[in-house]
């Protein structure tokens, strides 16, 4: 007979469920400016506290404090603010368009706009982003034409991806934005390979890639980190921890046991944990990792700590698995509001100007949506049917040729 107690099976559960009061008391938010900023080429063993800190620049009053303040000019800050506001206006309109039957699907990035916008501004035009579907702000910060996005979302005749992709699974090579796929995580290793290729060629380009915290459980994540570490690839590997993978809270991906940034330690990579709702912190941490990569210091893993305010997609109802008002209690605030407060505090912005910009981005989205609608919405217009048979191979073989003929296009 054994004296051991019976074993207990453990399934992690979130602190609260629908009907409960939101509770983020388990989240420790260190004061802005309190996390140290090491030298970009510091040895990895000297960086092992970083995945447990939280890089923050904007304090509760909107001031920029501490060693990570990137010292951006007002015009750069405004550019970031505009990209975030444009993203929010775009999301709102496209979500509404889906509800009106103008598209098959949409995913908003509400609450996470700073991650895409700030990283986009750090990376150069020749660099490559291997994004998630919640990264439209990356394109917004690069002035990607709204109409092209809308044409894809409406799957109409001018869809740049020729009717073959779900809305939001964009590809924009000229804007340094790699083709998306619905299989989460499978491009993380592509980013590493792309960065290795740049190093192999002796070029100066670097790659950045994003996954959600849930996807860290995929083998692709661990494979990518292994290759990035082994070959010192000039790549920035980012985990956007927005707390929710559809209905599964971050604990289901292992987030209750340690931070996602701390995954880096086992691979000998620096790991940074960053306030993802702080535009300045996202910018500064990305700059740090980019400088390290460009100096042949290899890869960095960054966890952007944020919150997915809206549902996973237009097919999701988050009130079924979390308190309906949880987002309002997120302790790190709203990225747009925080940057706005900062700019006003600097004396470079005002509530009136903000309202004016809000109206302007809404108008830009409205105009683009109207143009897209003029081309056609879902089912009213589509690319030429022959596009079904293009680009399967560089040159079609007899199967494609015959089947295209059979379809009569």
């Amino acid at each position: 007979m054994s004296n051991w107690p019976p074993l207990r099976f453990h399934v992690p559960v979130p602190a609260v469920r629908p009907g409960d009061s939101p509770d983020f008391s388990h989240i420790v938010v260190p004061p802005a400016g309190s996390t140290r900023r090491p030298d970009v080429l510091a040895a990895e063993p000297d960086l092992r506290d970083m995945p447990y800190g939280l890089v923050r620049v904007l304090d509760d009053e909107g001031g920029a404090v501490g060693p990570w303040d990137p010292g951006l000019s007002p015009s750069e800050l405004l550019r970031g603010l505009r990209a975030m506001m444009l993203t929010r206006a775009f999301d709102s309109r496209m979500f509404q368009s889906h509800r009106q039957g103008k598209s098959s699907f949409y995913m908003t990035s509400t609450g996470e706009e700073a991650v895409g916008a700030a990283t986009s501004m750090v990376l150069g035009r020749d660099d490559m982003c291997f994004p998630t579907y919640r990264m439209v702000s990356y394109l917004m910060a690069r002035d990607y034409p709204l109409l092209d996005l809308i044409n894809q979302i409406f799957s109409n005749a001018d869809d740049p991806l020729k009717g073959r992709q779900l809305p939001i699974l964009y590809s924009a090579r000229k804007y340094g934005f790699y083709s998306l796929s619905g299989n989460v995580g499978s491009r993380f290793g592509h980013a590493v390979g792309w960065a290795m290729a740049s190093a192999y060629k002796g070029d100066h380009k670097i790659a950045i890639s994003f996954i959600g915290e849930g996807t860290t459980a995929e083998g692709d994540f661990h494979e990518a980190l292994t290759f990035a570490s082994v070959y010192r690839a000039p790549v920035i590997l980012c985990v956007t921890n927005n707390q929710w993978a559809i209905s599964s809270f971050q604990g289901i991906a292992g987030g209750n046991e340690t931070t996602f940034a701390a995954r880096a330690i086992g691979y000998g990579l620096p790991g940074l944990r960053v306030d993802g709702n702080d535009f300045l912190a996202v910018h500064a941490a990305t700059r740090w990792a980019a400088d390290r990569a460009r100096s042949n210091g290899g890869a960095t893993l960054i966890e952007f700590f944020t919150y997915r305010v809206a549902g996973h997609s237009t097919s999701d109802d988050p009130t079924r698995y979390r308190p309906a008002d949880e987002a309002a209690h997120w302790p790190l605030g709203d990225p747009v509001d925080r940057l706005k407060t900062h700019l006003i505090g600097l004396g470079d912005w005002s509530d009136a100007q903000h309202e004016e910009l809000e109206a302007a981005v809404r108008q830009a989205v409205r105009a683009a949506a109207k143009s897209g609608e003029a081309v056609g919405t879902l089912g009213q217009s589509k690319p030429d049917t022959s596009e079904i048979f293009e680009d399967v191979y560089k040159e079609a073989d007899w199967r494609i040729v015959e089947q295209r003929r059979e379809m009569g296009c």
Partner: protein, 337 residues
């Protein structure tokens, strides 16, 4: 002109391409310093440097994912999956990513990668070192699947695969790496030196993808085969005295349909031979194509000779591996039909 076995011929293809194109690089498990467990990459790291031919972590998914990223950048990576049985961890990368990248991105990105892998049975590898997974790749739009049967083709097809702008799965029948094998375990094994296809030019040449070879001209029945099974089929023809035409497909995607149809319309009989399991194997597609397009020419039902629908059993290798006797029986059945 040198005499080469298939290992040397493939090594020569890689050597030639490393020399010709700085965008070609090679990586995979044990391929660097050691030269690969089958010695296919022997000496390449030494001759071209470790940046051109290097070892990879034991991570098939990571190897293929990394190669796709390199391909999207503009390189032409050639990766080795140590045994085709181990290709499944990379299956998502091959199917969801490599195969569809050009299509889903509207032609903005593509993955000109070559994935080499030794495949097939006959070396007492048991069920983890003997698989023939070609059908699962043939089913995927966007991939090409190439399977040589001799040293000359192996080199020329591999160079063509590396230069191809689509992702190519290059399956190497490891049982015939060192010499043709006809499935007769009771005969001494020959080597490539006596075979005309071992005359392999040292330099650059290509064998185009999608063009079958007629391994033997004949008039009584068409035998469709690839890889090791070409040799099994030829042996069956020789032993039976049946005047069969043996078509070596060389690549199953793209498939040289014209050569197949032309031959079957001439012989009016068709036997399909492959090592892989029979059910839903590539033979099923070949059979359907021939039936659809040659039905009124056929004088007998199409025959399929294939591996049994079981995993590859280690101790029963010699019972399991498909030999010429079964091909002879199939040919005879079609002749009676």
């Amino acid at each position: 002109m040198a005499t080469m076995n298939m290992v040397r011929a493939i090594n020569s293809a890689l050597d030639v391409m490393l020399g010709r194109d700085p965008d070609v690089l090679i990586f995979g498990e044990d391929v660097g310093y050691f030269g690969g467990v089958f010695r296919v990459t022997d000496g390449l790291a030494e001759r071209h440097g470790v940046a051109r031919c290097f070892d990879a972590p034991i991570s098939e998914g990571g190897i293929v994912a990394t190669a796709i990223g390199m391909g999207a950048y503009g390189l032409r990576p050639v990766v080795e999956i140590q045994f085709a049985d181990y290709i499944l961890p990379a299956y998502d990368q091959l199917v969801s990513e490599a195969a569809r990248l050009r299509y889903r991105s509207g032609g903005e990105f593509w993955a000109p990668i070559t994935v080499r892998s030794p495949y097939g049975g006959g070396i007492f590898g048991g069920q983890t070192h003997s698989s023939s997974p070609e059908a699962i790749f043939a089913h995927v739009s966007g991939l090409k699947t190439v399977i040589p049967s001799n040293p000359y083709d192996a080199k020329g097809l591999l160079i063509a695969a590396i230069e191809d702008d689509d992702p190519v799965i290059f399956l190497e029948p490891k049982r015939i790496y060192n010499g043709p094998f006809d499935g007769r375990f009771d005969r001494p094994v020959s080597n490539w030196a006596q075979h005309p296809a071992s005359e392999v030019p040292e330099g650059y040449y290509t064998v185009p993808l999608g063009k079958a070879a007629i391994a033997r001209h004949g008039a009584a029945v068409t035998v469709l085969a690839y890889g090791t099974m070409v040799h099994v089929a030829l042996s069956a023809v020789e032993e039976s005295g049946i005047d069969a035409e043996v078509i070596d497909l060389r690549s199953i995607v793209p498939l040289d349909l014209d050569s197949i149809l032309q031959s079957v319309r001439k012989t009016r009989r068709c036997v399909i031979v492959h090592e892989a399991s029979r059910f839903a194997g590539f033979g099923a597609e070949l059979s359907a194509l021939v039936q659809e397009r040659c039905f009124y020419h056929l004088e007998a039902p199409i025959e399929r000779v294939a591996g049994w629908d079981t995993p590859y059993p280690h101790a029963f290798e010699r019972d399991y591996f498909l030999g010429p006797d079964r091909v002879v029986v199939a040919m005879q059945r079609t002749l009676k039909g």
